[in-house]
Subunit: 244 residues, 4 copies
């Protein structure tokens, strides 16, 4: 039970900071407007860092914050199926909550931003080239490498005898996110995590955002299915490499 | 007594570097002019890191450097009310001192900068959209998440058995500040800390800065009250989550 | 044998992220397009971090990921010549694999990018001023300083009594890469590593990239020979300094 | 004797990377051209990190790399006057060597860069507003805060019982340099260190750089005297605060 709360709370923190940095860069006249890709990717990296600490502190030692990570661990036997499904559910709820908080923080900027696409971009990802196959492939590969990174850092050889010190492991997790955003985030805006995309997309759909466009539900399945496929592939690779 | 000195000294260091990075980006012909949001937010992150080390080394183990943090700890029983008020007072004095030092470092740039708003921005925050309610909300939420981040990192679960190593904890504090600036700093310029805004604003008011405008006292209460509200909300959340 | 696999796998991860960040910055309409040198250099730094963790976790404790590093260690007696040559071979294969994965991740962007030079730049380096002597000198010096940095960090004096903690050493390796890119990467785009340049250049040559130009084989020997010369020089310096 | 070699070698590494990052940003058509203040300041931070590791590994446990730091320690009794003077001398020699190496790395870019000021900027600092008093004040204050940062991080309270782990302390030193550059580097380009400015300025004077202008010897005393004054002030403050 505390695990479910921690996953909800941590994902909420993750999405508050994650949606927040996009809002800062894309909403009209925000201080970070035009700050560029280094701002976006740094913001998401630290968003994950804070989300992990929040989950850790509130009873969720797995700190998945993502249905793709939870799926991977379900394959690995960490979760029974019902527990995995419940965990995924609260992660999406956390994503909705994070989207709502970002909306509140940037309250006066929705009205002065004319670009409907920018307003949606705060909440949900979109591919640059609107072909769903390549977008699915991109999300799957990026998520697969994300999970491989987590499990290679967690390996005995990388941990060494004494283990990576407390705090440093979480920081390195953030640096992994920074890496994935910098290198593999170009084509689709790197959802990597169904809760990251679906949760805030629901928030976009229900919030009274002035002058918003539609929530692009046609694309919404890609950042859900892509990361799930990537997690499945990552599990097969990590199992073959005896990392899990 | 040493605690008061350390809080003064640490806040002075914080504001020297904090106001300094804004000066570098906004004052005319400075080397960092136009360096953008990544420069601003990195500068404030490291400013806090140096301020915390300075406070630690000079007798202030709490390293609050902010009346909002001190208020939170007063709720938690760390301070009696008079001690909390004295701590807040010296923090504001440290903020004034930091603003004065920044003014000295950038001495020849005040005259060649025409923009009155830029000159004030070195010292004090301002909302992009001039509505005080949303600005108050933004400052309260951002400060609340800042404190939640500190207390989740400080939790037993995050510290682990051996604890986060010396030095790394302070570095992570800086990364939290970076995160908040990147993600939640867009609408108001993230004061988060009454001493950060009020102290340098007083410095702006009293310093003989050529061609300065007014110190925008109409807004000055928002970055004081907002962070205090945020700290109050954060205390209620952290208490409910048994983090404090 | 596992060492060869780990070197292959780690170099594949390195080049997936390394080529990926260049793709993100130079391919048309990618999210990171125009992100600039800070994005490129940060991406390569974290690419090496992830590559090292991947190699560590899959049986390659040396984590060379570069024929130049392997050559240095062959001089130092870590490898017999045949083992060194085999290691270099799998590193180049890993580089090819990484180039192929980047091509898949950025699949829809090859067609919409007109600039043939940009497409080649994702895979292979090129000197700004097309003079091979100075380019060779630049690559040799940069690789030499890279190896000196690794061996000074690995020295007893720098490791101290307790040693640099697990995880932190790998992170510092990434920071070294960031440093070399920022400071010495300007003239040639810092290959530093024959597998980094030759592997993806082969991928460029064989992949069905729409509208690609030639693979600039005339230059291909420079980022192979330059780093090998640099490693030789670095070994002589480190031996003289008793660092190896 | 090894201490003198280590100080020479470490300062050479520091200036190779330090001058290198400026060359990358200001020389015509370099990859990092126009990379901005974040690139410059990150490059100098990591330059110091690599310089410190290089000095540590080659017999200079003090890792001063700067006559200003050495002066501070002479006041503190670490050095006798002749040893301090010899140390300062080899630091300047290291600075010359670093400037020469940067010149070699960027060899083809000197001819294609027309701006004489840019070419000098690779080697030596200059104030934006050409008033020597304020420039001296800026350099003194910035150096003073630099040394206060080092000594507060080195304090018992900041080190804690177990001490800051190996490697992390050097990394934090780099972050201090990043902070000073971001926040206090705007008016003069932050020499902070006589060897950083004087050494490469001598290199500029003697190297056969095509189309170079004069070496601006009129200003050369400021980045020597300013940091020395700052170190003196810092020593008085640190002594008063019982940090030394």
């Amino acid at each position: 039970m505390t695990n479910l709360f921690g996953e909800f709370f941590g994902t909420m923190v993750l999405l508050t900071f994650g949606c927040g940095v996009v809002a800062n860069v894309v909403l009209a006249r925000s201080r970070g407007n035009g700050g560029g890709w280094i701002v976006i990717t740094a913001g998401w990296a630290f968003a994950v860092m804070l989300g992990v600490f929040a989950a850790l502190a509130t009873g969720a030692p797995q700190t998945d914050l993502s249905p793709a990570v939870t799926l991977f661990k379900m394959y690995a036997g960490v979760y029974e199926v019902p527990h995995a499904l419940a965990t995924m559910g609260v992660q999406v709820l956390g994503g909705i909550a994070g989207g709502v908080i970002t909306w509140l923080v940037y309250l006066p900027h929705w009205e002065i931003t004319e670009d409907k696409g920018a307003k949606l971009a705060v909440f949900a990802t979109a591919p640059i080239v609107r072909k769903f196959g390549p977008a699915l492939l991109c999300e799957a590969i990026a998520t697969c490498f994300l999970l491989i990174a987590f499990y290679t850092i967690g390996s005995k050889a990388a941990q060494g005898v004494a283990g990576i010190p407390s705090g440093l492991g979480v920081y390195l997790t953030a640096m992994v996110i920074w890496a994935v955003g910098l290198s593999l985030g170009g084509p689709t805006g790197y959802a990597l995590n169904p809760a990251r995309d679906l949760g805030p997309r629901i928030a976009h759909a229900i919030l009274p955002i002035p002058g918003k466009g539609d929530s692009d539900w046609a694309y919404a399945w890609v950042p859900v299915v892509g990361p799930m496929l990537g997690a499945t592939l990552a599990f097969m690779i990590c199992r073959a490499l005896q990392l899990v």
